[in-house]
Symmetry: none
DNA sequence: AATGAATGAGGATTCATTCAT
DNA sequence: AATGAATGAATCCTCATTCAT
């Protein structure tokens, strides 16, 4: 594993301007190839060609294809994180004063917007994530932070009625993540508008969090 | 495509008993390898070794790894479909007479039970699905059927209050699918019990479908 | 080499009628496959399928594909030899009394007729011959016998004028063999009729053997 | 066909000096292997070993053994063509003024010289030709050009007496080609000297083309 | 820095051949 | 006699990676 891990970190940092351009070209090429051929079909040689760069140069900066994808993912997640923080900065301070539905709607909208940006790359990266611990970890940390944040909100907001704030927060985060993901990936047939999508998600979440009347949950089929 | 597709169908059917055992062993080996190393890391040679079978025998029956995974998926989905149908046969006839919460709880329980069976194989198969049109199609058809069924129920059930039965049905199916999937996959740390999980999902769905008070959904952050 | 040679002789002789049919079917299948796919593309499995026989049965009678081709060639050459002998029996006794042109025409016609029979198999067998010593030997022996026969004729016939009966006989046999072969193989575009072909070949050979006026053969370019 | 054909063209052209040496070594190795083991027995791995080059390097430049043989053949034919043209340039201008026998002797000598160069490679290449359309085409074109040239000569030369200049030209070209080929290939036992061989061939051809007295061609055995 | 030639381990696949049934 | 399941050596070929230029 140690050896394998060595393959994941960028080799050297590009300092001069020319090399930054090279790195950029490589990453753009990597993104194209990853999207077009998937993780298994992506090869360093393809990437080099797609980037218009020699294979030697590629290895100058990236020790393997994991490193490429990781760098790609890092850029993607950096952007996501930044956008998330910016938007949270707007809503959170007033969150307790606003109706729950409105807060939820705002948060959901951010997620939807986030995913709508480069859906194909997003999808491809997610396909790889489970096989790249570094990436998986980063994703998990981001999700974890969101869960904590929402958990705090649930404990404090007057309208929220949930049995277990931690669990509910996690479920909501996963729900939004998963459905937005699918919305963006399965975008064929009758594509649902982003606004409409956000409405429905918000309705789901708000209803759940207000928790008015719990499902009586009688002896369902689960008993079988 | 034609050529690629030729790699996907089983080669010949095992007629003698001995060969049926071989095919079984191969598929078991394939499942183990797929789970352990993922789609990209799965090789026919690994599978043959894991199955305790010569590589020649593997190719006697399967023309490549796609065919292996497809056969695996078909078994998995056949079982899922059968189980689904059996349970639906119990709930559906009385569905309109029962409270919505109870119906939902029953349906959700079936899904959860379905996923709990062989979660790691389930996860691995889902990872491949997007790259195997045959498999993707089969999965989509099963989902589609579920959506139609639920849509019909939503239109008829007195408690259901949704703007668009088709969209809501799809979202609910995806929600249950996705969250159960994650529940099963991310089963580390503090694993949530199946019953508890079913409770929470049922609560989410029921709340959403009863649609009591829609989220007021003011100008969310999406506007930004 | 010893081991390899063991692969060439038929394994056991078919005694019962059923087995003779099996052997026949196998050889017919082998001929079809050899013609369609060439020596390199011919496999024992293909032959078995084409013959409608199990691979096991094939190996019951033939220890490998060389043996198949050899048996095929033997049949082919047996027939050729028989036909040749029959026709020679007609011409030779009166050969010295007939004009040389007529004798030659008769011999050439036999060769042409021989090749016209199953040209595609003929061609395929010739393609393999150089790699199968047994076959090559058999072909060479047949040719050698023809050369001896013609040599004797040349020494005795009053019209024949050649410097070296042995060499001329060999060249004539090869000439007829080679041109008939090509005639039969390259049969596309404007196919020449068998009769016409025989005429031309006979003209060539007769002219050469009568040797009237030798080419003055001055200092040709060969000097360069 | 498309896919198969893709296996036939060289992959990339060697630009640096080092790579040109590699390509050369590979082709030399390919020639050795082809000669020693024949088309069916030739493998890319054998060639790589014989060339003292890694298998990867071989595939860098040639996508398969067809491509190797084709490149080999192209070199061979290029040389043959060049030599042919050079010699023709000497004879043709004065061809009509010279006795037919002399012209023929000159042309035949060129062919013989051509074949005497690398007979074993020549033979091996001819063995493959029928299975490689590209190669077959190239050979056919060269032959066709020779036929046209000779046909023109036959129509114009005062001594030539043939019924059908086209047919006779073709037969003569094939005759010379075939017999020289066999001369070179079957060079065992009592090898005939090149000069002697040219003499005999020239005698055959000249006699035929002068056509003095046609063979009376009575009712030969062909009637049977 | 950049290039691209060279490498070879490793994965896919075929097919001659055996042998239990 | 016939069958066809099983075998695995041998082949084809790719692609990550290094290194001389």
């Amino acid at each position: 594993m140690g050896a394998a891990r060595a393959r994941v970190r960028p080799r050297k940092l590009p300092v001069q301007r020319r090399s930054r351009q090279t790195v950029d070209a490589i990453l753009r090429g990597a993104a194209r190839v990853l999207v077009r051929r998937g993780w298994a079909g992506m090869t360093t040689n393809h990437v080099a060609v797609a980037a218009g760069v020699s294979i030697g140069s590629l290895y100058e900066y990236f020790p393997g294809k994991e490193a490429l994808v990781l760098a790609l993912a890092e850029r993607h997640l950096d952007a996501a994180e930044a956008s998330l923080l910016a938007h949270l900065g707007e809503v959170l301070p007033r969150a307790l004063a606003l109706p729950l539905g409105e807060v939820v709607r705002a948060l959901v909208s951010v997620m939807v917007a986030l995913h709508a940006e480069d859906p194909r790359l997003h999808r491809a990266l997610f396909e790889v994530a489970p096989r790249l611990p570094e990436l998986a970890g980063r994703v998990r940390r981001l999700e974890e932070a969101s869960v904590r944040m929402l958990e705090g909100l649930l404990r404090a907001h007057p309208e929220a009625r949930v049995r277990d704030a931690g669990l509910s927060a996690r479920l909501v985060v996963e729900l939004v993540e998963a459905l937005t993901h699918r919305w963006v990936v399965g975008a064929d047939g009758a594509p649902v508008a982003a606004d409409r999508m956000a409405d429905e998600l918000a309705a789901m979440v708000t209803g759940y969090l207000r928790g008015a009347e719990r499902a009586a949950g009688g002896a369902g089929l689960a008993a079988t």
